[in-house]
């Protein structure tokens, strides 16, 4: 990701938390709509843009960075590599013994592989809890409100529960390698209680820095094609900045994509809120026109398309929209 201000902002928070270790840590922002952050043993800290989009404020971002610094300070990845090596040796051994036994070498080989991987997951869960604790101390020490840390996990759980289909599927990879968000939530909330409750939250500071890239990040988010989860995220973000025209536009897009019974009407309503708000994106008019055209409101569609073309005469789909106007809607 390019934007310098955001990069600098994240680097400053990292330094505030890392103290004397600041020169050793380099922050990389990665553009991908999923929720993740990682820390390499050489101090390379990666933050994914899907995570940034989900932060409610600076304190939450500090909690994530603090957690990753926790991995770094406790040298978790080094330990994990050593552990993987010894487990791999054991797995090979197990594989040899089992296949020498004669029964289905391939299947049992897979079994011993699985033992290695499963072991690593359990090991990494311990690390996650330890990193959570270090992270919480770092953020609190730097003056942030530690109560924001458990909220991140509450937000994720809420999003996940937003899609009823998630009950029946394996879900995100994150939940396999990490403790269940609900366990983590409880653990963090317990720890945070023992810390000073007052602290910096930094809602507007974070919102201001993210704003220039937020439209693109929301476009990326739509590409995950999990509209039910996205709707939970958007409703939460709209709760922070009510009447935000971009967020209302994307809420319309999420309803339009989900397209369950009643969703087109909800989409239309959301686009209308968007264009009644300050600085609506031109796309709100286009998407509104597409739905109006679909549900048999040609005159309303005409008006929406006309405004869209006036705002974006060179839009990539301007020829197509113009052809709609020529044919009457």
């Amino acid at each position: 990701m390019e934007p310098k201000e955001l990069q600098q902002y994240v680097a400053e928070i990292t330094c505030r938390l890392a103290g004397e270790h600041c020169p050793d840590v380099r922050v990389y922002l990665v553009r991908t709509p999923y929720f993740n952050a990682s820390m390499a043993p050489n101090g390379m800290l990666q933050l994914w843009s899907g995570l940034l989009l989900r932060m409610a404020n600076e304190a939450q971002l500090a909690a994530i960075i603090g957690h990753e610094l926790g991995h770094y300070l406790a040298r978790h990845s080094v330990e994990q590599l050593r552990d993987a090596k010894s487990r791999a040796a054991f797995g090979q051994f197990l594989g040899i013994i089992l296949s020498a036994g004669g029964a289905g070498g391939v299947a049992l080989g897979t079994l011993s592989q699985l033992a290695i991987v499963a072991g690593m997951f359990a090991y990494s869960r311990e690390h996650e809890i330890q990193a959570d604790e270090i992270g919480l101390e770092l953020m609190s020490g730097a003056g942030y409100a530690p109560q924001e840390a458990p909220r991140i996990w509450q937000q994720l759980v809420d999003e996940y529960k937003g899609d009823p289909e998630n009950e029946t599927t394996a879900g995100s990879v994150l939940f396999a390698t990490h403790p269940a968000p609900s366990d983590r939530l409880t653990n963090l909330a317990e720890l945070a209680k023992k810390m000073p409750s007052a602290g910096q939250i930094g809602e507007s500071a974070f919102g201001k820095v993210l704003f220039p890239v937020r439209f693109d990040l929301l476009k990326d988010e739509m590409k995950r094609r999990r509209p039910s989860e996205t709707l939970v995220l958007l409703d939460r973000l709209i709760g922070i900045t009510p009447g935000d025209a971009d967020l209302l536009f994307f809420r319309g897009e999420a309803y339009r994509m989900r397209n369950q019974s009643g969703d087109l009407e909800k989409a239309l309503e959301s686009y209308k809120y968007s264009i009644d708000s300050k600085r609506p994106p031109a796309e709100s008019y286009r998407s509104m026109g597409l739905i109006q055209r679909k549900i048999g409101q040609p005159e309303a569609a005409r008006q929406s398309f006309s405004i869209y073309l006036r705002l974006r005469p060179d839009a990539e789909d301007s020829d197509l929209i113009r052809s709609y106007l020529e044919e009457g809607s």
Partner: protein, 189 residues
Amino acid sequence: MRKSIFLLSLFLAGCASFFSPVGPGEVKIKDMTITVNTTWNRFDMSATDSGEMWTADGLPLDNLWFYAGVADGEMLRKTAESRKKALPKFQAGMAPSEVVELMESYITADGSTFTLDKLAPVTFGGGPGFRFDFRTRRKQDELELRGVGFATIQHEKLYMMVYTAPITHYFQKNLGQIEGMAKSLSIKK
């Protein structure tokens, strides 16, 4: 080691049979007929119920997908079970921009990017259709590709051809041919 050499030789010997030559001349793909002026290679493993994929210079360099009558509620192509949930299905009432979004979700399923450059109405398959031009950065090798698609919805079915190739050289090389094929395409009523 001996086993892997055996497998490798089997693979090399088998390679030729993954492709079969198509054209020049009239070629039928299910309900669609097109005129091709050189020989293309059909990738046999790509064939699905409603389409197939061709290449001129090899799979890593250019792909030409044909979707010959995708019915309401069908996926664009067969795909791994684990990905099915994330990939949407065609719906007969889709607007052109929604068909493009549909295509986009298949292209970006592996983490590749997608940017729409142009979406415009054209006649395709003897009826009202549309053409879309796009760019994509392929995830597996970070290669910048350009793409062009032609589509029409007739009798509640989607008929579409989509061509992608690297921006450097290959896209431009075959674009004229692709446009010619799109013009020649007819759909059996």
